[in-house]
Point group: C2
Chain length 452, copies 2
């Protein structure tokens, strides 16, 4: 994999640019930037520390600022937009897609976003204001308004002539939408169908009915899973009265799919999914300290359990030496289950119909692995410390904790989801607290009864 | 989120189906299955325990088996294919895309895959054998061979007439590929361009040059990142001599993007990314026990460190009570950094040019959060145990461990990647071992010097 990164042309340019920046050869940097596509400049900005990022932004062609902004991840985009003068922002937003423009406007101070809106023509302003009226994470928030509509009662030939006259078709268009005189969506015709239809055939005969249109209020995760299952390239969006109001394209859906999948991984480590890798340390430290604060409580909970058995620990140091093993194994086993369940919930595989099966299965997995590792760890402890009772105690604690880890690993994420708490964010920490407390309780409790 | 899952129509059907299965109403199940799209049946199979899965498969229309297989995730597909008779497999694979067919054939016993190949017509067999000759995780392994080629010296009108005569255009086609008489790729023309071109214009005048074609050997992750950056819907694939050999479509790329993103999350928990949520317990237990085995070594390493200080632990039980706090905080802080770096490596943001910046930044984050939590935990310990020396010791250990966690969190994944070891798989465990060992060493070491 190391070679692949080094082969990546962006990495090579990144190195050239950062060397040129360090030695202050700004003209060279500007020339390098001019040779790059806007999406590659965006990648370069994301991969640069904040200070170089600002310099790079000054050196890019202002003509491309809009296109670059569209490609940036949220955190990085916010940082750059916050430093731009209102006039340059107005200039940059010209020609942006409605959804991206709405996103940028949302993150601006009220007076700046107003002045941007004021300088747009009436039709564009209306479209952007419509987009702004929908929450960001719904179909309405991610749709564009650049689609082509036709009527059902015309011939294919008329449509072809209309398209030639129009001269331009919006990006990622794979279908034209068929509407009636009230702008009701009644169907769509794929470009591929249009191209294989004889000129004298009426559109109504070859269009497909709009039986599965996306509504503006649909959650963006649901939109993504529909696109994924149906292999769509674009799809029309309708309001509650089935009026056609917009179009969602696969490139925006791909971003959602990547963000959702990354969200689980980042949340499980206690990070924001749009955390900027190259943010200033102070900003990162502040965000992450909250998560460490939650873990302090979990660690103190475990310490309080040990504290209850202070007398036992006082009598036999070997118990203190071994007491971290059982919680550690329980935490790892339980987090395997948590990760599995979080993915299952995210892709919609887990629901009421199979929760009971999953609980039984994961408990059984815990039982089997519990027996295996109880045997191994028991033997290790027996030969290390030469104490059969201690070996039996750690084996029992291991078995108990792994079974509980399996059950808690299924129950905690599902329960959190019922409470509308993100299982990816809180699941791992809650699980670890359970397995720490139970593991210590059983191990130290048994040691207190049989050894102290 | 809970409501969304319950609103999901598949979840509702899933409940109906599992109730009908339990009460043995197979005719009803068959009727439910008939009303579903192949991709929804695939989703249902993935969300069912293995036993119901087999019954459901028997009850689905064999005509749809091919389409359903194409939509299944690898682990589930393998399980079903393994149980199918060769004849039904041959029937099911009719009409499958080349890439999916190649995938299925790869997982079959030699003699079965041969008999499937034997029953195909010569041209199809040649295409599939070509696909089989490329590794699965390259452009060659994921491409299809269903594309349309045209010549550069014909008029748009000729192309339109050719398409109408052809009558069908492969799915997800957004461009026709322009080749010369030797099948060299020289350009492509988007369907949208074709539709807006006057009939008497030559293709050569409106086509775009093929300056960024994908080669068959390109890694599938690179293909995905190109699609994502360039917003492609499909792209041509060429061999080393620039002959056009295939086409990659966005639906296959979306699967790769989701798998790559899920891979990090699943690997970090020690799971295979195609682990089947509803696999039999024995199978899951066997796979996961390996990861627990790795953790046993890590836990024993930590225990050996404690063991070195058995004398100190013997003298003061409070040390044993508190000794888990510092490793726990170090592990959580370090894993935040590890998750950030793994994502940065996956999306190509981290390379030689910015590693040093990242090390300094994460060490600074560790310093700041170390100071904060050293102060808080020090105070807690002082008021809890009334021992100023003990409070100072735990504060010092906390600060040291969080700084080391930041540095190790950057260094370990990058180092693993250099060694060609997947950082998502091994990074978290290696980090935790480092923070456990260092945390215990510093805390118990200082306690031995100043308290024992």
């Amino acid at each position: 994999m190391a070679e692949i990164v080094d082969q990546d042309p962006t990495q090579q340019i990144l190195q050239q640019v950062s060397k040129a920046l360090e030695s202050g050869r700004f003209v060279h940097v500007r020339r390098l930037l001019q040779s790059m596509e806007p999406e590659d400049v965006a990648h370069l900005l994301e991969a640069s520390p904040v200070r170089s990022r600002d310099t790079l932004w000054q050196l890019t062609d202002p003509e491309l600022h809009g296109e670059i902004l569209e490609e940036l991840s949220e955190d990085v985009k916010d940082g750059i937009v916050a430093q731009m003068a209102p006039e340059s922002l107005v200039a940059a937003t010209e020609g942006m897609d409605t959804d991206d423009l709405a996103y940028v406007l949302r993150s601006l101070p009220q007076n700046v976003s107003r002045s941007v809106l004021d300088q747009m023509d009436a039709q564009d302003r209306q479209r952007v204001q419509a987009a702004l009226s929908y929450p960001e994470d719904t179909a309405g928030g991610i749709m564009n308004t650049d689609f082509i509509t036709i009527r059902a009662d015309v011939d294919a030939d008329v449509v072809l002539r209309y398209l030639r006259m129009r001269g331009e078709i919006p990006e990622a268009t794979d279908a034209l939408y068929v509407v009636d005189e009230n702008n009701f969506l009644i169907g769509e015709i794929a470009l591929t169908t249009l191209l294989t239809t004889q000129p004298d055939v009426q559109i109504s005969e070859v269009m497909t009915d709009a039986d599965e249109a996306i509504t503006v209020t649909m959650d963006d995760g649901e939109v993504a899973s529909l696109f994924e299952r149906r292999d769509w390239v674009s799809a029309p969006v309708v309001d509650e009265n089935n009026h056609l109001v917009g179009r969602i394209t696969i490139d925006d859906v791909v971003d959602i799919i990547r963000e959702d999948a990354e969200h689980s991984m980042m949340s499980m480590a206690g990070l924001d999914d749009d955390e900027d890798t190259f943010a200033p340390a102070v900003k990162s430290a502040r965000r992450r300290s909250i998560w460490l604060g939650v873990n302090v409580l979990a660690a103190l909970a475990a310490a309080s359990v040990s504290n209850m058995f202070e007398g036992t620990l006082d009598k036999m140091a070997a118990i203190a030496v071994l007491m971290t093993i059982v919680p550690s194994m329980g935490g790892v086993a339980g987090n395997q289950t948590v990760a599995l369940v979080i993915r299952g919930l995210a892709v919609g595989h887990i629901g009421q119909s199979n929760t009971r099966f999953l609980l039984a299965k994961e408990a059984a997995v815990g039982l089997m692995n519990g027996l295996l590792w109880a045997l191994i760890i028991g033997s290790v402890v027996y030969f290390w410390k030469g104490n059969l009772v201690l070996a039996l105690i750690i084996s029992t604690a291991m078995l108990t904790n792994l079974i509980i880890a399996g059950i808690a690993g299924v129950a905690i994420p599902i329960f959190l989801k019922k409470l509308n708490i993100d299982p990816a964010l809180a699941g791992g920490m809650a699980l670890t607290t359970v397995t720490d407390v139970i593991g210590l309780m059983v191990f130290l409790g048994l040691a207190t009864i049989f050894l102290a």
